[in-house]
Symmetry: C2
Subunit: 569 residues, 2 copies
């Protein structure tokens, strides 16, 4: 450690390494990213002769030439590929270095490998700077091929695998692409609350956020260590008050000195305070505070019942109705007992909201956004996508390319139902019954996008009975201006709608659906004062990662999956 006047050894190392060419991406470390070497158009061959510091973890290692040196495949997470590193036996104990998972920081010279090798450049190590060893007998990730299911039991280590690290880079790219897209189109990022006292109606079961239980546990412990006063204690304290009162009366009638009377009055006050304290303490009840037979939420942290958000939509609408184009991108929660490969208790959602816009604008935005994401991955994550195509899903790159360039098919719900009925007439079997008014099942959605149109499909104008109160009622009075974007591989990727901006209509929709009006008063204010046509949608971010990567289980595309019975780390 050094202050700014004396250069540290780390700084000196950087000076030595500053002959590294400018193409090597500098960061806040004295090493260079492996990506900046091997992902060059020339595969790094143009850097031959340069001295660099590299850090990473050994993917595979082997000794060669009668243990005279070792070949190590080193990966630093900056890309899917590894840099081949050659260490001679005089530099370090090679038996240690060749273990999978070993961390290594080395200085060396980049050089061209002998002809016929796959890699375009390799590193000849001059100095081993740091080694983080691995005992192969204890390492939780043996070299054998590991299943994604096995890796879910090792969340803290799984980012060291090729698949999870590629998923992480693709997820990162999709997040940055999301912010870039909305920024480019003039949307403001509004961070809606995680803890909420509103319910986005119908979105599902909510987790409760509370300090009542920990408060009750603390109190319970305290009452055991320090039991509440008995009735006898309180009676004794009351008797004391009476006696001290008598003292004062006596002194007064005896015309005692002011000093003596004041002292006695002070004693009396102390005795009264003591009774008050004992009485308060005797009222303490172990357990969660209750009032009138119900839990007393006025004693909870927020003085009312609070939950984890299921959607930022209602809140972000309040910003759209002032700032026109906004979006939220954050975690959302469902306390549903779903054990499927498509559901998580904690997942991320992207929710744009656009004022002065109608359902068609909403569809245009959704289509442009999804296309933008697909094109971004094709442009920026080629190497990781090729890994996915090779190991997980052969069709994933073609799927991205198709979605990026094909106009989405747009059909009304009514047309969609007609098409499904037609298909059944031609012999297609569905498990779920089809008729106008049903909520389309996943099998129906996937049939439309995967079989019938073989491209993304936007279904719009759904029956009002199956949709939320805030969706705009169409002139037919039967449907609402909702839309879902269906894509091959995952089915529903986006759900959105034009919002009901007419005060009279939304009020009657709330009543029609039997919902209480009071919790929505603030939401109704947006319609009472300066109301505006607006629309928005939500994209389940993990579904987009599933769509892009071809991974089957949603638990493998979020760093720390939460589902019933599991919240590791």
């Amino acid at each position: 450690m050094a202050d700014d006047s004396t250069p540290s050894s780390a700084q000196l190392a950087k000076v030595t390494l500053s002959n590294a060419p400018s193409v090597l991406k500098a960061e806040f470390s004295d090493r260079v990213l492996i990506r900046s070497i091997i992902l060059r158009p020339d595969g790094g061959s143009g850097l031959a002769g340069q001295t660099v510091r590299i850090g990473g973890w050994v993917k595979t290692g082997r000794k060669a030439d009668k243990d005279a040196f070792a070949f190590l495949e080193l990966n630093d997470g900056s890309c899917a590929g590894n840099l081949q590193v050659i260490v001679k036996a005089d530099k370090y104990d090679l038996g240690q270095l060749v273990q999978t998972g070993t961390c290594l920081s080395v200085d060396g010279v980049l050089k061209l490998p002998p002809d016929g090798k796959k890699q375009k450049v390799e590193l000849d190590v001059e100095k081993v700077v740091h080694v983080g060893p691995v005992d192969p007998a204890k390492y939780p990730l043996p070299k054998t091929r590991l299943t994604l299911e096995f890796l879910r039991d090792h969340l803290h280590m799984r980012s060291r695998t090729n698949t999870i690290s590629a998923v992480t880079r693709i997820r990162d790219a999709l997040a940055f692409a999301t912010h870039s897209f909305f920024h480019k189109h003039g949307f403001l990022y509004v961070q809606t609350p995680i803890i909420t006292t509103s319910d986005c109606e119908g979105a599902g079961e909510m987790f409760q956020v509370t300090t009542l239980i920990s408060g009750a546990e603390k109190l319970e412990k305290d009452l055991i260590e320090n039991p509440p006063p008995s009735e006898a204690d309180i009676e004794a304290a009351k008797l004391n008050v009476k006696e001290r009162g008598d003292d004062v009366a006596q002194l007064k009638s005896a015309k005692a000195s002011k000093q003596d009377i004041n002292a006695a009055v002070a004693e009396l006050k102390k005795a009264k305070d003591n009774v008050f304290k004992l009485e308060e303490r005797s009222k303490l009840q172990p357990g969660i505070p209750r009032k009138d037979g119900k839990i007393d939420y006025t004693q909870d942290f927020f003085a009312r019942q609070a939950f984890l958000t299921v959607s930022g939509q209602l809140q972000v609408e309040s910003y759209a109705c002032a700032l026109s184009s906004v979006y939220t991108f954050g975690p959302t929660f469902r306390a549903e007992n779903s054990h499927t490969s498509r559901h998580l208790a904690e997942f991320w959602m992207v929710e744009p909201e656009i004022a002065f816009a109608e359902l068609e604008d909403d569809m245009n935005c959704a289509e442009a956004y999804v296309k933008f994401l697909c094109q971004w991955l094709l442009d920026e994550c080629r190497e990781d996508m090729e890994f996915m195509a090779d190991k997980i899903d052969k069709t994933c790159i073609d799927r991205l390319a198709m979605v990026a360039k094909t106009p989405f098919k747009r059909i009304s719900y009514t047309e969609a139902v007609d098409l499904l009925i037609d298909a059944m007439k031609k012999g297609k079997k569905f498990e779920n019954h089809v008729e106008w008014g049903i909520d389309l099942a996943s099998e129906h959605e996937r049939y439309l996008t995967e079989v019938l149109f073989q491209k993304p499909v936007i279904v719009y104008n759904y029956p009002k009975g199956i949709k939320a109160f805030y969706m705009r009622l169409n002139d037919d009075l039967k449907t609402v201006a909702a839309m879902d974007v269906l894509v091959p591989k995952v089915g529903e990727l986006i759900g959105g709608s034009q919002r009901e901006e007419r005060y009279d209509v939304i009020i009657s929709r709330i009543e029609e659906m039997g919902l209480p009006v009071e919790p929505y008063e603030w939401y109704l204010d947006l319609r009472r004062f300066g109301t505006v046509k607006h629309c928005g949608f939500g994209l389940g971010f993990e579904r987009m990662v599933l769509f892009a990567t071809g991974i089957d289980n949603i638990r493998d595309v979020i760093p720390f999956p939460r589902y019933p019975g599991r919240a590791d780390l």
Copy 2:
């Protein structure tokens, strides 16, 4: 609503408006952003003669020329400035349009105003497309100047005010700048979990996340509607089993037909099942499930106690120890009963983590990041920053410029304490005692950055006794490689450290601090297998917004503030 074959009226409107020049930023709406007109270098004068659709809310309006027309200042949230809009009396009821808060969508022609006016362009309305009226007698935001405190009681409307909308744009810019900075430097965005079963030691009180209370409430309701069986019910059911058993025995001894015996056996089974069900139901206890005198968390959603995260650091470290450079940017929570202007129960943190890096790299990264944010606001948010300088804090632009270009002063904790003691010798008074070993108080930090150095200060190498177990022990065995970045106006903006990568040292630090080892086993694995030198820091995002804007209260720089007693919306 139209499908893709027949153009809708909205599409037709767009065609009509397509003569708008290309500088007008298109979005998913048929209007153009006011920003794209008035923030042009020429103030929009070059657009005179163009027909455009504009949407926004009336900031102020007045009738003129004996009510022949109205002047309206229209704002759409895309920038701080308004577009002046002129509506003639034959177009609409002007009395309605001039009300503050009215929403308006209009088509009109941009024209140069008469000489001597401040604005460079104004809009002459040809057609009023939409009006969202306001009843001024009921509007919650009267035209008089409103305090930020008053606005906190109207969270859903406050983004309509100049100050909160400017803060929102600045906050958006800081978020985008954050992602841009880390993306540029090769960091991957890792979304760490919100719900966690780990505790980032010492970070503070946690909110509990549970479904036990709602489960208990549901059960309680169910038991009232459908009371559990009485002992008599169960006895009766048991008697029934006995009788059905007797039936079977009788039939068997009477050598009845197989059919009759089977029927009796089936009856017996039904009777037994019924007893089992009644007994299970009779065990149901209202209230939260308990076992061995404690709450039975195996029955909670995650089968264990779960909390809202106080920091993503520990989890993001697991990704840094595989992918080298990562960051998390998400909400974090503290269940502390703080009623100050600097604390929130829910706030956003930016936490980068860098492998192959030491404390000095950490300081370099923190300094570069803060400078980048400041320069970004100077470049991208000039107009909003000028508004802040005008209305909130005269010094805010100068402060950004100073931080963007001045090297941060770096001093060790020991030097900092010496400097504070020197200052006291020269007559400076502090409320909190100063000696080596204390945690610096806010007054000390602000003295260093605001008075002594008048620029950002990084204090590093703190006494180990006041810092967390995961900070790397220095060779002096007394201090750890921690660092805090102090800036004028807010004091501590960033806290970070090099992490202890040595297994033996971190284990003894955990034990020395009296912490249990078991919860950190996964964290220790990162040191057991392929350990790497690494470091990181956390920036309180709202503190950065306070620093940038000069706003005093943190509740005014997050869209939906949560603090004790309040979680509106």
